[in-house]
Amino acid sequence: MDIEIAPHVDEIRKALAIEIDSDKLAADLKRLLEFRVPVEEAKRSLIKKYGGGEKSIAKKLKDIAIGDLNIEVTAHILEITKRIITVKKAEKTIFSGILGDETAARSFTAWNDLGLNVGDHVNISQAYVRNWEDRPEVNLGNRSKVIKLSTKIDIAPTGIKKKISDLRDGDVNVESVFTVLKVEFHEINTKDGIKNILNGIAADHNTKVPFTSWILVPEIATGNTIEVKNAYVRSFRGVPTLHINENSKVTKLEMNIQYNEPEKVMIGDIIEKEGAFDTIIEGNILSIRPGSGLISRCPECSRVIQKSVCRVHGKVDEKTDMRIKAIIDDGTGSLTLVLNSELTQKIMGITVDRSKEIAKAAMSQKAVEDEIKRKLLGKILAARGNMSRGEYGVTLVATKVWESPERNGERALELLKRAGYGKNT
């Protein structure tokens, strides 16, 4: 059999409930490929031809990809929340949460009540995978089947030890040591009514991440350095977040990890990560992107709109606002810096009303954008905020922006020393 098509034939055989001769499948597949049918389509049509399609392709959660159809996963329910959404003007109750197996944790949405509860170990077939915030999400539709398993969750006895800076979306059975910098109670609505959870910030020597604890344990208190076993990681708005639940083990340690806030990080280093929490960067503004300056928003949903028409709410009484989307670059990397209305007004030193006057005098909204270019292009700005990676590249939404005090003289002397030159050489 042809080496290249052998793995595909195997995959087809696995997907079928009955035994079909490999050579026959290979011949069929080759024929379809001769017709230049894409491999995926060829496989799908052969599975269908031999009465397959009933049997889903078993996958581990770490291997699922956006666009997968008819997959089977075996996992436990880590979280589940009831949500009411509006579909075609009718209210519908859906269930969303997190699934985890030994390889990864992924979000899921069940479009019907399948009687799922936290801690259930389930086999799900006929599920599909959709894109949710640029990440794969398991979807359970009308045809999906769920079998509750009696077996207990099979957590590997030893977890994967990870530093706070190494946490990635989807990590499961993570073991980490950190100091609780901040913690707050929150009430949330779950499937079984209101539940208290803890939200906070975890840190090691130089990195911070947000965390959520689904259990209220006294060890998780501000200032404590704790060890957490069997936690998992999910991204929230592009930033990895550590989750602690009933299956996790929390121990207070006698040691104390001191968090030292880094002055700033190089852009080239953080863009390698998938997200970063509360980070400080500094660089030159190299480009002001279209859509900066004076903008119009829908008063209902705050979407940016054109000509007073919102794509959801139709003709609306638009609200004027300001923002800046800029490319910031420090010579090691670049990302898109987003400044909200308040920060834009602060850094520009002009209010929304003043901008309106500028636009009116020039009879163009672009006049404000030009003013921003004149003021900011080439300048060095420092910014603080969360960095995330999405469809439009790497973005940092600023919570603070400022101009660092000038210290060229001191820095020149430091650099001379580093270059191996003392004074008067």
């Binding site: 190299l286 292009l377 000038e406």
Partner: protein, 305 residues
């Protein structure tokens, strides 16, 4: 879902290093970016400069083509802005020299004859700057350059090559792209060690020009003359690689159209003003017509289909 290409970083490179660069690489198909590979292994497609404009020249009077010289403490960058960098061209034409400016630009080469490569900058954005910004740029550029030099020096010392060297560089903190650039630089530049020594010397000089303003013990005079000053030849590089005159004419026809087409004479006037010569205008219009992209609603008038 196709991810958008990551934006090319704007490298911080001193004029001395940039002007010493004569390795040009182009990878893959037409749409792949081109790079100037510098002696410290930067694969430079974009750069950011803050310097002093010492001279602005309109080198083709009938054509809106401007050349500016932008000095840093180590040498001079040559910047060309033409009709397709109209914002930058206008900015330069109105500038009173000397002036501090910040420039974001594309790294371009000019090869008037086989084997002699000159490096130029084609501006994307230009803005006025001040002395503090210039000093800060000098220090940032010095720091980045020293980091690169130590990587290349270490690579040379190790004696490694090929994939071994590549891996070694990445473990030392180079990005895979920079590691590739260093490999190419080592292969291309003869006497790389001495080039790096001279560059280091220039960097120290550049830092001292900033330090001398702040510490009376350090005195540093500007360079007497720029070593190996490269004067671009009088021939003019082509600054219109992306768009031929035909496309420019198509745009003009569309822009001038008020709904009934535009007279031939006004299209020619606008095209001449945009710096396209008479012969190109004629062939451009002919081609557009034969391609069916514009037609004559009445004699002597043209309209875009």
């Amino acid at each position: 879902m196709e991810k958008i290409l990551d934006r090319e970083v704007a490298w911080r490179i001193f004029a001395y290093e940039y002007n010493r660069s004569n390795l040009y690489v182009s990878e893959g198909d037409d749409r792949a970016p081109n790079y100037i590979v510098t002696p410290t292994g930067v694969k430079c497609n974009r750069l950011f400069i803050t310097g002093v404009v010492t001279e602005v020249e309109n080198i083709k009077a009938d054509n809106n083509l401007w050349r500016a010289r932008i000095a840093d403490p180590t040498g001079v960058f040559t910047v060309y802005a033409g009709q397709y960098q109209s914002e930058a061209a206008i900015f330069l034409s109105e500038l009173i020299v000397p002036a501090y400016v910040a420039v974001v630009g594309k790294a371009r080469k000019f090869e008037p004859e086989e084997g002699s490569i000159y490096t130029l900058v084609r501006p994307e954005e230009m803005n006025k700057a001040d002395e503090k910004q210039r000093d800060r740029w000098v220090l940032d550029t010095a720091e980045r350059s020293l980091e690169r030099i130590s990587l290349v020096e270490e690579a040379l010392r190790s004696g490694a090559s090929g994939n071994d060297l590549r891996e070694q560089l990445v473990t030392k903190g180079a990005t895979p792209v920079h590691a590739d650039g260093i490999l190419r630089a080592i292969e291309h530049y003869r006497n790389l060690e001495s080039i790096l020594q001279e560059l280091k010397h220039m960097i120290i000089h550049a830092i001292k020009t900033v330090a001398s303003d702040h510490d009376a013990n350090i005195t540093e005079k500007p360079l007497d003359k720029i070593t190996e000053e490269i004067e671009p030849p009088e021939k003019v590089p082509d600054v219109t690689p992306e768009q031929g005159p035909k496309e420019a004419i198509a745009e003009i026809i569309e822009r001038l159209d008020t709904g009934k087409g535009t007279s031939y004479a006004s299209i020619v006037d606008a095209a001449l003003a945009a710096g396209i010569d008479g012969a190109s205008i004629e062939t451009g219009i002919k081609e557009l017509m034969s391609e069916g992209r514009c037609y004559e609603p009445k004699i002597g008038h043209l309209r875009k289909v």
